[in-house]
Symmetry: C2
């Protein structure tokens, strides 16, 4: 039992340094053994509440000595099992390391600790007229969003975490601290380590500080909702909007099933049809023009009800259905766990892709309402699952595999924004082939003892 | 002489495969021994005119066998010595591998071979109402722009190559072909290899196909020029414009010295003052609004002459000074070589940075006109150098080192868009410290025999 002896000694040393910030009780460990996905949980051996980069350095050095796995934990809102400590080890919780360190309004950037949530950040930015637009839905931490390369509803206009992380402070597997870039808006100085760590799901190092790009809060915001007779018309309206160069801020699609769930959940009476939720950002003049242009496009594609609102209260009411989509769907099957598909395809293939996969769902009798960031070609089926119903669960997993294979065949990806985690490792190889060998080379050279979130993204031995 | 024997045998094998597409004449080799920088040239042992990915695979496999260095060559417009084959070897010229492979207008992307130049690409895109906006000035190849992480005048609005490369096909050091990503607009599938190769200056593999993001040609474009009493006023006008959220497409600064050179070169009569060149993209309504807003801002910062044009011919005339800036400066010192500095700092420090460095130039008696992509905080002193004047040249190099050190101290970078190449290797370490060790780890694991553009970006042994 050399391994458990090692872990025991590591915990002793950690405990001496961190005192009551190191937790080993069953209840705290259970709290850190699961994310929001259907993946089976596992317990960490201990949980550290980190407060500063130096804490992480000390912890990593001890873990390196005893080859104890390390998993970073933020809001626990990952949906592919990223934070589940499948090999036990130390969970580093960042929720108490949540300071907005410096807002630099002239430079449109901010430095934050990883435990800052996106809502907290926007609250602190608001009085300076600034915002951080990336919005994955959940009130995730910036650390988690960075590690997963998150995106969401606003990426069609403002990009993903990929586009909005300026620089990272990272504690590497041997406990060194590196800062991956300066704060210049752009740089050609050597290999881009920043974007290597963005989306690395904690497997290459622990992110302890993030500098993000900011945007001025637009002078005017307006929102609109439009329903369509069918999916293809809705998507053609999206494509035409992009072709016209309308700088649309959000363009989201819900299908009839989602609308139905929302109507039940919110006691609303939306038309049970494919529906676009839109948001426009800009000057008063520009927002008006955008809404008029898009209103015209929607009418052209047979939308009968383009509703357009400018007051914040009215806008929120309009978007309520979108914001409650996933909750409403999960409420249809109380007690079920969440399985969210996440394919993203070139937009020219989107209508075909959605039609084909909805047909699969119908053929297989699977309940899977759709919601999507369609300006990016990314959509989710939100499927409530009961893993104890093994037959149904097998059918759902087969559907997911077929969906991803179709997306890959269309030059798309098996994950637009959720990441690979535990559930999509074979799909990663299906999608990127020998690239995975090069990812392994990087992992092995950065973390030769494989202590950084081991077992995530890919296994170290080629399959 | 084992090395030269190896090279001889490699050339024999290459020659058998490629026939008259392999060149070993002195004249062809000389043509591939230099870029547009002041760095001392060196001759490759042979030059291959590549036509397809498979050519590169065959060549790399032979070079791997005989440990022959490989340097990719496009337009030869690099300015930090990136294409100079300092250790000899095989130069792979991509100018005949220059097909636009597929334009996908609905998906706003295009796949091209590396030898396509940006002007050629935009000619081919134009009739579909699309454009590729990244504009580094030179008519560089897309392959070179990708490898150097180029940017230029439009990055304030459209981003750099970093933001606009979707996927790459790369021949790695052992002759394998990998495709780094699918065409989905976004993805969270594993480590971001695409952006690892962007900016890797040919040291990790040879790029043989690039998929780029495209944009609709804006409905309306207008341009403006405004001169200011001093540098600080000009930069404050830039910062205020960004604060207002004006989606400005270009915002370029020339100093009085550059204007003076341009006046001589073009026989024009521009006011010899710090001058902003601006471009607005959008709908008719939006472009008009943007120009009016920025006109107001410029007046607020004491610009006396905001000139605004919408017709293409008038716009081109207005921008002529900017486009001829570097040529005009070089014409002031016939026979001199080009040394262009390239620091980029957070915009809040830009005025201070420029003022300080202009003071250095004055103190040292160095002629260095300024032109800058000031919306990004990036600016160049274009310095004509005579390397045989060793005293002056030493002074210029000392100035460059001081400039970079100041930029780094301001949380900026020693290179906004030109790359590290030969000239900035010690600055890279100054800027990013131990990050360079991690870059080395990647290099060593991807290219263990160091045949891919050896000696560029960093040396393999830590200094």
């Amino acid at each position: 039992m050399a391994i458990s002896e090692n872990i025991t000694r590591a915990i002793e040393e950690l405990s001496q340094i961190f005192g009551d910030r190191l937790h080993t009780s069953q209840s705290v460990r259970s709290h850190h053994g699961q994310d929001e996905s259907w993946h089976e949980g596992a317990l960490p051996d201990a949980v550290l509440m980190a407060h500063e980069t130096e804490d992480v350095v000390k912890a990593v050095k001890i873990c390196a000595t005893y080859q104890m796995p390390i998993v970073a934990f933020g809001a626990g809102s990952s949906v592919e099992g990223q934070v589940i400590p499948t090999q036990g080890g130390l969970c580093i919780n960042f929720t108490e390391m949540n300071k907005v360190l410096e807002i630099r309004s002239e430079d449109f950037d901010v430095s934050v600790q990883p435990g800052v949530t996106r809502k907290q950040l926007n609250m602190e930015l608001r009085h300076q007229g600034l915002m951080f637009p990336v919005d994955p839905g959940a009130n995730a931490t910036i650390g988690g969003m960075t590690a997963t390369r998150a995106s969401g509803t606003t990426s069609v206009r403002y990009g993903t975490m990929e586009d909005n992380v300026v620089s990272l402070t990272v504690v590497t597997a041997d406990g060194r601290v590196i800062k991956t870039a300066q704060r210049a808006r752009k740089s050609s100085a050597g290999y881009d380590l920043t974007h290597l760590f963005v989306g690395s799901e904690g497997t290459l190092g622990i992110i302890t500080e993030i500098t993000l790009r900011l945007y001025p809060i637009p002078e005017a915001i307006s929102s609109a909702v439009a329903s369509f007779p069918d999916m293809e018309s809705a998507i053609n309206a999206v494509i035409t909007t992009l072709m016209y160069g309308v700088p649309i801020a959000r363009i989201e699609l819900l299908d009839g099933l989602t609308i139905e769930a929302v109507n039940t959940y919110l006691k609303s009476t939306h038309a049970v049809k494919p529906t676009l939720f839109l948001e426009f950002h800009g000057s008063e003049v520009s927002v008006k023009e955008q809404a008029e242009t898009v209103g015209g496009i929607c009418a052209e594609f047979d939308s009968a009800d383009f509703i357009w609102k400018t007051l914040e209260e009215d806008r929120n009411a309009l978007w309520e259905a979108r914001h409650n989509g996933a909750l409403a769907v999960m409420a249809m099957r109380p007690g079920a766990e969440l399985l969210a598909t996440d394919v993203c395809v070139p937009i020219s293939r989107l209508a075909e892709m959605i039609e084909k996969s909805q047909q699969y769902l119908e053929d297989d009798g699977i309940y899977g309402p759709l919601m999507g960031h369609v300006g990016d070609g990314n959509f989710h089926f939100v499927i409530p699952v009961d893993r104890t119903n093994t037959e149904e669960f097998a059918k759902i997993k087969a559907f997911c595999a077929r969906l991803a294979a179709d997306a890959i065949a269309m030059d798309g990806t098996c994950t637009g924004e959720h990441g690979i985690g535990l559930g999509k490792q074979s799909l990663l190889t299906e999608e990127l082939g020998e690239c995975v060998d090069y990812m392994r080379l990087i992992k092995q050279s950065f973390d030769p003892n494989n202590i950084m979130n081991p077992g995530k993204i890919f296994s170290l031995t080629a399959s």
